[in-house]
Amino acid sequence: MKHFSLTLFALLVAVCSLAQTKVIKYPVLDALMKKQEGPVQVINFWATWCGPCVKELPMFEQVNASNPAVKVTLINLDFSDKLDKVDAFIVRKNMKSDVLLLDEIDYNSWIDKVDKSWEGAIPATLIYNPATGKRVFTQHELKEGELEKLIASVQ
């Protein structure tokens, strides 16, 4: 019984720690896109209400879990007053990647800084390799196997 409650406690802690979506401002994202060293950065822009975004999330989760040379960050674009909804979504989908809610509503001030070609539609994904300086950007729902190819293209 004691063992059981310990397990339950550990599970609760795990669930709570998973559900902490950090709310960030643009400079945090900017620093992520300009890292000088470390793993390949895969930065995906998504929202809980965006069907195509939700559909492709498992691909990012899979890469994050299986490829130690890659760091996945999911930039959430739900409104900041919907933080509870985002947290609940993460728990429900058992997501392990870092989720950061970007609370910058004046979109025009930062969209071009992510990529000049981005019109603002989501899902969108930026892949950046600090080691080679190569970056690719896409603004459509990724097809099966496409993410791996994009990661390979910045090696």
């Binding site: 822009f45 929202a47 209400w49 965006c50 195509p52 674009l77 409104f79 509503i105 004046d106 979109y107 025009n108 001030s109 969209i111 071009d112 070609s117 981005w118 019109e119 603002g120 539609a121 989501i122 899902p123 690719v136 950007f137 896409t138 603004q139 459509h140 190819k149 293209s153």
Partner: protein, 202 residues
């Protein structure tokens, strides 16, 4: 095999390149006219707006949360500029991909929101492709010059999706007011987060 691999890679890069550089209008371009079915069953073209100084074309839909957030503001623009720059809303979403955006659903939505302006169905998605519209809502302010319509502004309605009262840059209103006053548009291109237009499966 190596040759095949590089061929596949080249094709992949080509696809990416095409995807990243959609065709479409820039500010100053002449917009081609269209003829699309309105929710009342009648066909609507730019040429129908004979006495207007221009048209506010808004690519929109029923289902996108950003479109919903801007709905009241779109209705407001339509009222404010009824006689000078009428609003023409166009839904280009494929109902096969987004069932909530079918013509019947558009009719229901326009009725429930009391639309006083055309809400057109771009069934072939050709108008959205011609314009280079990518998300909803995506605004193109067209200025009438003789019998042609020139693109004067492309982008967002204002700079606060969440809260109309907190928006301190009303891009579309500023553009239209400038055009009515015969001045140049202060900001002629902006970007905003939005739902992607739901393209038909190729």
């Amino acid at each position: 095999m190596k040759y095949l691999k590089s061929l596949v890679a080249a094709a992949f890069v080509a696809v990416l390149f095409v995807a990243a550089k959609p065709a479409g209008y820039g500010v100053g371009d002449t917009a081609a006219d269209f003829k699309l079915k309105n929710v009342d069953g009648k066909m609507v073209s730019l040429a129908d707006f004979k006495s207007a100084k221009g048209v506010i074309v808004i690519f929109d839909c029923n289902t996108c949360p950003y479109s919903k957030a801007y709905n009241e503001r779109i209705i407001g623009l339509a009222k404010k500029y009824q006689s000078t720059f009428p609003v023409v809303a166009i839904n280009s979403n494929s109902p096969e991909v987004s069932p909530g955006d079918s013509f019947e659903e558009m009719q229901k939505y326009a009725k429930s929101k009391g639309y006083t302006f055309p809400y057109l169905f771009d069934e072939t998605q050709e108008v959205a492709k011609n314009y280079g519209a990518t998300n909803t809502p995506h605004v193109y302010v067209l200025k009438k010059e003789g019998n042609t319509f020139k693109v004067a502004y492309i982008g967002a309605i204002d700079n606060n999706t969440k809260d109309a009262a907190a928006a301190d840059k009303k891009y579309v209103e500023e553009a239209v007011d400038a055009l009515i006053a015969g001045k140049s548009v202060p900001t002629d291109k902006t970007k905003a987060i939005g739902c992607t237009i739901k393209w038909k499966e190729a």
